[in-house]
Amino acid sequence: MQLTLWTYEGPPHIGAMRVATAMRGLHYVLHAPQGDTYADLLFTMIERHGARPPVTYTTFQARDLGADTAEIFKQAVAAAYERFRPQAMIVGASCTAELLQDDPAGLSRALGLPIPVIPLELPAYQKKENWGASETFYRLVRMLAGPPAETRPKASCNILGPTSLGFRHRDDLREVRGLLGELGIAVNVVAPLGATPADLGRLSEAAFNLVLYPEVARSAAQWLERTHGQPFVETAPIGVKGTTAFIEAVATLAGIDPSPVLSGEGSRLPWYSRSVDSTYLTGKRVFVFGDATHAVAAARVAAREIGFSVVGLGTYSREFAREVRAEAAHHGIEALVTDDYLAVEAAITAAQPELVLGTQMERHIAKRLGIPCAVISAPMHVQDVPARHAPQMGFEGANVLFDTFVHPLMMGLEEHLLAMFRDDPEFHDGVAPSHLGGRPREEAGTVVAAPVTATAPVVWSIEAERELKKVPFFVRGKARHNTERFARERALPLITVETLYDAKAHFSR
């Protein structure tokens, strides 16, 4: 048993719902008790869908347990077919029905419906939402993709991965379509978002696949590569460098010259990063956490395109731990792979970052610690489905990222002014920037009563503590952290005023 306060991912059948809801002409019959219908509101409230998800729940009750639940399931499948007349159906069990072992696959086969009915096995006690989405999409593609097409125009591709309730998938898709249009590459099928089962039958007519979100589409793309000989591109077009690499990879596969597109207008991010106001961004300590795709991409953009220092990087996607560990190694840190929200909180507290790029959960952690934060990844919140176009991908996505990462921070000039006027009463230490609510900040250092690291505790002398107080509050966390690290590395038992300035000299850049 795992004690869980908040979860980053739902159960695997939620992933299946994200695929079903994204598609058209597909219906999902889920063998589940009534409470599981809460899942509807994820789509109708968070994503503001104007229709119920295409899902029928059997909503069996205790009195049905025994022989009856299988019958209820069969009737639900038959009734859903009659009412919705989908092109294809997926059927499966949620956690409770999995224990009943009613065999949705056999029961639905016995009905002999005139459409493809695809049974899903989503082990609810082992797997989670993204795995469920990936498995569902893979099963659908396996079942419905037609035989390899005879001719495939070289400059044609499928876009795989966008789902319902995906972080900015709607907007990313528009950007990626735009890039492909500029390159002159035809989009054959986009799936799951907006595709019908019949569209999946045409997947093999494209020369190659673009996997926008490997969490959802990698297994399907690998299968298409193996059986249909379609190569795929998995480079995330996030940030200017990511987008450039993506364009180059795509152009190579399509046999096209990318230079006209690459020399085009591009993004404002590179110039904004170089402009003098951005000097203050140099080396800002950021902590990044999210799904693997967005966390890795955010870390890259933060370090290589904005000039931050990545002091923490982690993911809740265990399936993609390898990728995240590799990226963390580039930043000289160790990746945090966990879905325990308390462990993430402890890691952020210990790292004392100046900016957190995370999920809604980290937003709450950061708010408590008084650290600015921007949201870069699911789990989804109604705020993550903005009315405006706000992609993460492509050149416009890079513009959005610049604003997203930088706006929570104080503006550069402001920071200087605060330093100059820090003894004025208006700027006393307890005052946070007004855009962070103007409430007194909790000092990060005092929150870590016992640092989570196993290393020996370092003790501050009273004088050194007093001296530290004179350091402007917005860099004090960093000063404390660096000094402690300096002392620990040298096994100094006590931090004195001397140590403080030795450390400052050591770390000054």
């Binding site: 048993m1 795992q2 004690l3 869980t4 306060l5 908040w6 979860t7 991912e9 739902g10 159960p11 059948h13 008790p33 009534q34 409470g35 599981d36 219908t37 809460y38 899942a39 509807d40 509101l41 994820l42 109708t44 409230m45 503001r48 869908h49 104007g50 229709a51 119920r52 029928t56 729940y57 059997t58 909503t59 069996f60 009750q61 205790a62 049905d64 347990l65 009856d68 019958e71 209820i72 009737q75 639900a76 009412r83 949620s94 956690c95 409770t96 224990l99 009943l100 082990p123 609810a124 006690y125 082992q126 989670k128 809604q360 959960m361 709450h364 952690i365 408590r368 789990p379 919140h381």
Partner: protein, 428 residues
């Protein structure tokens, strides 16, 4: 059972006194399970912790129902059953003990721990009652451990509160004094208003269930009476009656009329003359009347459709039709407790269509055909109906907002008029 997924409607009039047409429907339901009650119960009992023993789905449900995370460390959590827990029950009990131990070490402020059963824990027959008794022994006297089921196969939405309160009843102390127990979670502010009214009426010894703290264990016995403040408390009522407490029948305290009748029922049970009730409630009634007046024009003559959700539907329908002049198209409710709702049912207009149970798609068809002016429904259905240009009031707010009593009557009406007023603004 022959027709589940399709609807099975047996519309027959049930009795002379309740002149409503009560139909039963079976099929797909669109309601939360009883775990949802944790979202308001944990705020009510301030030193209690709710540990769901369930699946990732259960954890996700509570998180979604609560909105995104509001608290760093909420007083609820899920012990998520994993593959290996399914292998052996003995080990599952050991695992549960380990989780509880870790939890209580972290949270010394917890005085009452509820182990909350879920569909998976029930299907694998994990005996949480036994676990609670064992853990209570281990942690007494600092922490009491109780258990109840919030599972979706046993409980619908508000029935989770019923199961929780029923679990508290054996834990109440015993007394032979005359007293009044008000049953059902109310906002503190509402409780305080009612306390003052009961005191003014001259009813001494008034206690509330649940209490605000684990230590508030109201004394009950053969001379105690209970008054339900919520209509979904069948099991709690039965548990109280097993301990000799008698029920005071009354309509529910929603709206000015409901509140007056509710208070009057209590007063009459304690032999307090009606004149006293009139005098004590006069100011409250006048304020409520003024507050309701402001909303009546917006609701009068409006046609309202209720999807089954909280079991509050019947008293709410009574309020809307009698005090606000609304017209009732269909009053859906997941369960209809005929005895507890007798007084409210009797006040519904003759021939009101009451539906017990649900067959979602059939009910949606009826709702679309009727095109009501206002549809009261769960969160999953609200936006789809709005997208079809049918104004909605999502019902979970009726559990999270103080709506009982005179001072809240206007707020209650406001919950129904706001969606209409909003439309009027946007369409102006």
């Amino acid at each position: 059972m022959t027709a589940h997924a399709t609807s099975l409607a047996c519309g027959q009039k049930i009795s002379q006194e309740t002149r409503q047409e009560i139909r039963h429907e079976r099929g797909q339901r669109a309601v939360f399970c009883g775990l949802t009650g944790i979202v308001w119960l944990h705020r009510k009992i301030q030193d209690a912790f709710f540990l769901v023993v369930g699946s990732r789905t259960c954890a996700h449900l509570i998180q979604s129902a609560a909105g995104v995370m509001i608290f760093a460390e909420p007083r609820f959590a899920t012990a998520i059953i994993e593959e290996r827990d399914l292998a052996g029950l003995a080990d599952a009990h050991e695992e549960l003990d380990r989780v509880v131990r870790r939890l209580l070490e972290r949270r010394p402020d917890i005085k009452l721990l509820f182990l909350v059963g879920s569909c998976p824990s029930e299907v694998i027959k994990l005996d949480l009652g036994r676990a609670a008794a064992r853990l209570s022994g281990d942690f007494a006297p600092d922490v009491r451990v109780l258990s109840y089921s919030g599972s979706g196969i046993e409980t619908t939405f508000t029935q989770g509160e019923d199961a929780c309160l029923a679990a508290l009843v054996p834990d109440l102390t015993r007394s032979t004094d005359e007293s009044l127990l008000v049953v059902g979670a109310l906002a503190d502010v509402v409780e305080d208003q009612f306390s003052r009214l009961f005191a003014d009426l001259g009813i001494a010894n008034v206690r509330f269930l649940p209490g605000r703290r684990a230590a508030d264990r109201a004394p009950i016995g053969p001379n105690a009476r209970y008054l339900l403040a919520q209509p979904f408390l069948a099991d709690t009522a039965r548990a109280l009656e097993d301990r000799g407490v008698t029920r005071i029948p009354a309509p529910f305290p929603l709206g000015a009329e409901g509140t007056t009748l509710w208070l009057a029922a209590a007063a009459s049970a304690f032999g307090i003359p009606p004149a006293r009730v009139v005098a004590v409630t006069e100011a409250g009634r006048a304020r409520a009347a003024r507050a309701l007046q402001a909303h009546r024009a917006a609701l009068s003559g409006r046609r309202v459709f209720f999807f089954p959700d909280s079991q509050l539907e019947v008293p709410l329908a009574r309020f809307l039709s009698r005090e606000m002049g609304a017209e009732l198209i269909e009053v859906g409710t997941p369960y209809l407790h005929r005895a507890h709702l007798a007084e409210d049912l009797a006040l519904l207009p003759d021939g009101t269509a009451v539906t017990e149970g649900q067959s979602l798609d059939d009910q949606l068809d009826r709702c679309r055909a009727a095109r009501p002016d206002l549809t009261v429904c769960g969160l999953g259905l609200a936006n789809p109906l709005e997208a079809e240009d049918l104004p909605t009031k999502w019902s979970i707010e009726l559990l999270f907002t103080p709506i009982q009593g005179y001072e809240q009557a206007g707020d209650l009406a406001g919950l129904f008029t706001r969606p209409l007023a909003r439309r009027a603004r946007l369409e102006a």
